[in-house]
Amino acid sequence: MSLIAQRLTSSSVARRVLNSSLAAAITTPHGVDRYVEMIDPLWSSTEIRAEVTDVERKTADSVTLTLRPNNLWTGFKAGQFVKLSVEIDGIRRTRCYSPANSQFRRDGHLELTIKVDPDGLVSPWLLAHAKPGLIVQISQAQGEFHIPLPHPRSILLISGGSGITPVMSMLRTLTERAYIGKVTFLHYAFTEDDVIYREEIAEIEAKYEGVRIVRAYTNADNGDLRGFFSREHLVAADKHYAEAETFLCGPMPLMDGVRAVFEAEGISDRLHLEQFAAPTRTVPTDDATGTLSFGASQIEVENSGQTILEQAEAAGLTPDYGCRIGICNTCVFKKDAGTTRNVLTGEINSDEDVNIKTCISAPCGDVSIAL
């Protein structure tokens, strides 16, 4: 039913009718989406909804989802990330993941490989519950981490663990488009079994002459290299690394190690990196710390420990407010990032992209508000 409905709703005539001002006028104030989604759950004119079409568990601690996004999705550049939202126990949670597929994939589907953090919330849930048919939301692709045009002649990719996903996308995109330069891919994992795309990497290695794969295992001897990153590893992987453009994604110690070597040699401008920090979970203290940023008005203030509403007003902003006691919801604004504390209940909220009542929320450390 939903596939037939989707064929119907994605036809150009139907789209013109549904997006017409008449359709908007007769469905006011709710809008046409609310009714079309009764037959097509992927339909939306405001958010990118995607259906999970395939779920694979490539390694013990990862889950790979294939997503079929709706028509609003405008594609991505290899290396960029999307914000994926899933509903867990009635609450929408949002996390960032990089698609691992080629940006030119024919069917336009996305492949997200998610490393499971046993202490996390979203990744264990996806491991346990993701199945074909699940509807999720994604953002448009974001981030500056992608290969520039025209392509550099020599590319060095370095990744560790689940940081493989954006560089895998780069590798697939380059090989698929018959890139004529040289690619070296240095990947770190605990052991062979922890390499998420092990078989495919081997296939690429066999198929493309210009691609050199260097496997480094921290806990096993059967790789090309053993142990953690060092300058020796770098030289062993590509002795002309200084002439290449390097793309790096991985855990913090790896990122720091590579950055230090590039800095020492004065070639930091050739290093491009993507950093995925875990959600900040700071413990509130009486002494206020951090910076409160108001994204929409581009104002930053030192956190004074007061509620966000009070601090916004002190900064000269005039956000809407009503009761100022957490009742009326007039002062709700979106928190882009950071941790806040409910001053009435002491409850801590570290989620990104959530609405908070600014009159009863105080920042703990750095917080960014869309205000």
Binding site: Y35, E87, D89, G90, G322
Partner: protein, 395 residues
């Protein structure tokens, strides 16, 4: 209010409020905070599933209602269409719109169910509602002079603190008219137009509210009274009449539900002075004394947006309303423990009580406090007295 005819200085509210010591009120408030924390911690999948299910039912009723009215020339189809569309509008406004706009489902983080994004099938602009209802009415519940609802939305006499005037002889007529055109009345409530007619407010001050009104009400009227009738072709008059009937049913039902929540006679009102420097616990206390519940079946609860639990709604306006039923059990027990009046009766009795009050307050207070004769004399001599007062003021 049982002692409505006492002078405003010693209303029932102030006497009852003195029954609990400040320490008792704080202890009571603490227990309510704990109750709230327990419910908030339990919010999740069940609540998300509930609101989605209600929205899904409402959408089906709406589509069915509009579809049936298309065949409105056939009487059974017209009746079924009006029924379905009335139910759709009632559920859209009460259990869905009112409750989502209170932020009850903000915890879901789903933009479709977020208070800031939501708007309802009603002529009241959402922003206007957030101000008049969520902010003014819920923060200053039943404080005469602050809560515009408590003084009859400016068009009824519902508290004896409102001075009597011969115009209030029409109090029951105003009440009936407001119920009939309820969506339009609330749509212009933020304007507080009575102040404009009394020259307390300028035209310029009316403008932003009027713009919101034109914007929202215009779209609603275009949909219900122009586009859907036109789309029905020759059946246009039937669709027009059907839509008007559905709006009327919703108006009468919604206003009746709201009347039952704060206007029954035993419900207390408060003065600005006695609620100054009110603590969080005292705020809870006022919400209970200033609200009333009504009993009914499960469907009465759903169709009233669970405002049948008005007391619980006023204590916890941002907790999903279908939870009020379970919360009420504990609130009732707490009220018994602290000996706090918990107003509850059948819907019919609460509504009768409201109408009794509407008729009673249409006459001058002297009619009850002194004698019927004195009351009649006050009505008859009003023009003379007001002339005299004006002359005195001029002199």
């Amino acid at each position: 209010m049982s002692t409505t005819l006492e002078s405003p200085a010693t209303t029932a509210s102030s006497t009852t409020a003195k029954k609990l010591s400040p320490a008792q009120i704080e202890a009571f408030g603490k227990e309510l905070d704990d109750l709230r924390a327990r419910i908030v911690a339990d919010l999740g999948e069940k609540d998300a599933a509930y609101i989605r299910d209600i929205v899904s039912k409402q959408k089906k009723l709406e589509v069915a209602g509009r579809g049936l009215l298309w065949a409105g020339w056939f009487p059974p189809a017209w009746i079924a269409g009006v029924t379905a569309l009335s139910l759709s509008k009632i559920i859209d406004n009460m259990e869905i719109g009112h409750n989502i706009m209170h932020g009850q489902y903000d915890f879901m983080n789903d933009p479709q169910y977020t208070s800031k994004n939501f708007d309802w099938d009603n002529t009241i602009h959402a922003d206007s509602w957030l101000y008049t209802h969520n902010y003014v009415h819920h923060t200053f519940t039943n404080i005469i002079g602050k809560d515009h609802d408590a003084t009859g939305y400016g068009v009824m006499r519902l508290a004896e603190e409102q001075p009597w005037h011969p115009i209030w002889l029409l109090n029951p007529v105003f009440c009936g008219l407001l119920q009939t055109f309820f969506q339009w009345g609330t749509a212009i409530q933020e304007l507080e137009s009575e102040k404009f007619f009394k020259r307390e407010k300028t035209w310029a001050e009316m403008k932003p509210g009027l713009r919101r009104f034109r914007d929202k009400a215009g779209k609603q009227a275009l949909k219900d009274y122009v586009l859907f009738p036109l789309l029905s072709g020759p059946g246009a008059p039937f669709t027009f009449a059907g839509n008007a009937a559905a709006n009327l049913v919703r108006n009468l039902w919604a206003s009746s539900v709201i009347w039952c929540g704060h206007f029954p006679e035993e419900v207390e009102t408060f003065s600005i002075e006695e609620t100054e420097d009110e603590s969080h616990a005292e705020w809870y206390y006022r919400q209970i004394l200033g609200s009333a519940n009504f009993t009914g079946s499960h469907w009465v609860d759903v169709l009233s947006g669970n405002l049948s639990y008005q007391i619980e709604h006023h204590l916890f306006p941002d907790i999903p309303a279908y939870r009020y039923k379970e919360i009420a059990v504990e609130v009732r027990a707490l009220c018994e423990k602290y000996d706090i009046a918990y107003h509850e009766d059948s819907m019919a009795k609460q509504l009768a009580s409201v109408w009794k009050k509407v008729f009673k307050l249409s006459l001058p207070d002297s009619f009850y406090t002194t004698s019927k004769k004195a009351g009649l004399a006050e009505i008859i001599t009003f023009p003379v007295r007001s002339m005299k007062l004006k002359q005195q003021a001029a002199a």
